[in-house]
């Protein structure tokens, strides 16, 4: 049953982030982790309506985007652990996770970095005669950067098949977005640039799914961009080491009451799915995640010589040997 599959997809993201956060806390790997816990319904609802040859650009908070698009969970976990079996051979880590085999063109350490890339991908696809759509994910914080305005104008101007997806969790790193943003919100900005769209409750998987289906269909048929503005909430801090002291007491706890997973589970039960089935899914998904983590833990690190490949083909500097 389709919605059951989407529930599992969200669960996969939820458990991936929990395991990753725990491993990071325990010092099993370094770097920055930007967990998307709480925001799962947005990528899952959007990707449920994408074809395999549709593309996706992501943000620094990209694990959910990768998993929802179909990236290999073992390769993703191994990438966080910096192993040679990682999706990027250990070269990128959490912030640069990617899987081109499923059209996931990469997480991006630069806020709004994916927007120009997304519209260019759509432009290239058009040149190649494809009707593939590019789903371009970004946060509310990105809507204040230059490339946001440029890219929306660009997609509208050239008639490009881009679905802009704004994951609006209200935060720009450590600061509330509304404290640093003028005007009437992202939808009005998008409209002024020629990109119509809709706001949706980003924690209601069914609403995201329905709206995304409609908008993606429009994008594909009309060869013009749309924006899906999804309101959601980031459970944890900006990074895994940010305890979010800037949040008023109780805000996060209250937001968790709006958890997209139990909301969907409730609907599934109403539709006749029994709890035992849900429990089995939770059990199975946990097992898969534990296995991914165990495999990542025991995978080899890349060889030091690998630091020197994939820079450029001509004239890449020889290793300095003492």
């Amino acid at each position: 049953m389709r919605l059951l599959g989407l529930y599992q997809s969200m669960l996969r993201i939820r458990l991936f982030e929990e395991l990753a956060l725990e491993a990071h806390r325990n010092g099993e790997f370094g770097g920055y982790l930007h967990a998307s816990s709480g925001q799962e319904a947005v990528p899952v609802g959007v990707c449920a309506n994408l074809r395999k040859d549709d593309r996706l650009t992501s943000t620094h908070r990209g694990h959910g985007h990768g998993l929802a698009k179909g990236a290999d969970i073992h390769a993703m976990m191994a990438e966080l652990y910096g192993r040679e079996t990682g999706a990027c051979m250990g070269k990128g880590g959490s912030m640069h996770i990617a899987d081109f085999s499923v059209g996931m063109l990469g997480a991006n350490g630069i806020v709004a970095g994916g927007l120009p890339i997304a519209v260019g991908a759509a432009q290239g696809l058009k040149l190649l005669g494809s009707d593939a759509v590019v789903a371009c994910f970004f946060g509310d914080g990105a809507t204040n950067r230059g490339p946001f305005f440029e890219a929306l104008n660009w997609a509208s101007l050239y008639g490009l098949r881009v679905l802009f997806v704004c994951e609006d969790n209200g935060m720009s790193a450590f600061t509330y977005t509304n404290a640093t943003t003028a005007g009437q919100g992202v939808l009005k900005r998008a409209e002024s640039l020629g990109v119509p769209g809709e706001t949706v409750d980003g924690n209601d998987l069914i609403a995201v799914d329905d709206t995304a289906r409609r908008l993606i269909d429009e994008v594909r048929k009309t060869a013009s961009p749309r924006i899906l503005h999804a309101r959601t909430y980031r459970w944890y801090g900006h990074t895994s080491t940010d305890a979010a002291p800037y949040r008023p007491k109780g805000e996060a706890e209250k937001a968790r009451l709006n958890d997209p997973l139990p909301r969907l589970a409730k609907r599934l039960v109403e539709e006749g799915v029994n709890q035992a089935m849900l429990d089995q899914i939770i059990f199975d998904t946990r097992a898969t995640l534990n296995d991914a983590r165990d495999q990542a833990r025991s995978a080899s690190f890349p060889q030091s010589a690998d630091a020197f490949n994939d820079v450029q083909d001509c004239g890449a500097e020889a290793r300095i040997v003492s």
Partner: protein
């Protein structure tokens, strides 16, 4: 067979041939449909149409970033930045995205694109339209940096750049776009990394590139009249650069002068000198100096701008000091 044509025409011929050969090659940039600022794109729109010759908004970040996106799905964009100074609003897209994507993503992506950057002094253009900053990009792993000094090299390098799967920055001497030179009828791709000895000599090695080649050759002419023989090496590419060719020459002359148009401080000249000391030691490399622009923004008024302009006389003076 050879034909006389301008730098702009030579590049247009090379680009046209590539676009005929490969339907995934396309051009994006400001005013390209009208032929571009320097006429480098004349007639291309009429020939190849709206999808392959794209006029963009004045939105440098997205001109650059969209080029990357288009490369990631299998096309080969030629990204026209109008002048090199305008690469600055697109630095994140070039340095953080294009240069690094192949590496960061473990080889899943290739940024197969060319960035065309008309650069250098064009008298009266002032501080924001005159910069020679190709050295900045030598410092960025992942970027190929090509700096043709002749029309024939420009044509060959553009072809090679289009065919390479690595991102190539092509710095084109904008003051020379109208300059007529001999260009072979058949343009073979000129792969990065090979220097050209423009003039053979025994007493001192001049290493130079791009716009600085001409005043260097003029200075060498002056010195020849004084029985001082200068070898002039046109690097052609700054990364990867032909250190071997320079070392070969220095084993003969023992004296090095690097002549560059850009600001001396932090310029590529320092890299050349340090690298040759590394390679050859101070017994073989007896003396090494550099000429470049002072560390001031390029002024407008001609009496001030002349402080920046490379003169054969200045180069000749330093050459005499080197051999004294």
């Amino acid at each position: 067979m050879i034909t006389s044509m301008s730098f702009a025409q030579a590049s247009l011929k090379a680009l046209t041939e590539e676009m005929e050969r490969d339907p995934t090659v396309w051009v994006l940039g400001e005013d390209v449909r009208q032929g571009g600022v320097f006429g480098q794109y004349n007639g291309l729109y009429a020939k190849f149409g709206a999808e392959r010759v794209v006029d963009t908004p004045i939105a440098e970040a997205t001109i650059m970033g969209a080029g990357l996106g288009a490369a990631l799905v299998g096309t080969r964009p030629v990204i026209e930045m109008r002048i090199a100074d305008f690469v600055l609003p697109a630095m994140d897209e070039l340095v953080n995205q294009i240069a690094k994507i192949r590496y960061m993503l473990g080889g899943q992506a290739r940024a197969s694109l060319v960035v065309r950057l008309p650069h250098g002094m064009l008298p009266g253009s002032a501080a924001q339209h005159s910069q020679t900053i190709e050295n900045w990009f030598v410092n960025v792993p992942g970027l190929v940096v090509m700096t043709p000094a002749t029309a024939a090299d420009l044509a060959g390098m553009l072809k090679a750049a289009i065919r390479l799967d690595d991102p190539v920055l092509l710095f084109e001497p904008k003051a020379l776009f109208k300059q007529i030179e001999d260009v072979p009828d058949v343009t073979t791709p000129l792969m990065p990394g090979k220097a050209t000895v423009r003039r053979q000599g025994d007493d001192v090695t001049i290493v130079t590139w791009s716009l600085a080649l001409r005043p260097s050759l003029a200075a060498a002419d002056q010195l020849a009249a004084e029985s001082i023989s200068c070898e002039v090496i046109d690097l052609g590419t700054l990364w990867p650069w032909d250190a071997e060719a320079v070392a070969r020459s220095l084993k003969k002359t023992g004296r090095l002068l690097v002549v560059q148009e850009g600001v001396l401080a932090g310029g590529f000249g320092g890299e050349v000198v340090a690298s040759m000391i590394d390679r050859l030691g101070t017994k073989t490399l007896k003396t090494a100096r550099r000429i470049g622009a002072p560390r001031i923004p390029v002024p407008f008024s001609p009496t001030l701008e002349s402080e920046i302009l490379l003169r054969p006389e200045t180069i000749a003076k330093m050459l005499r000091e080197l051999v004294a």
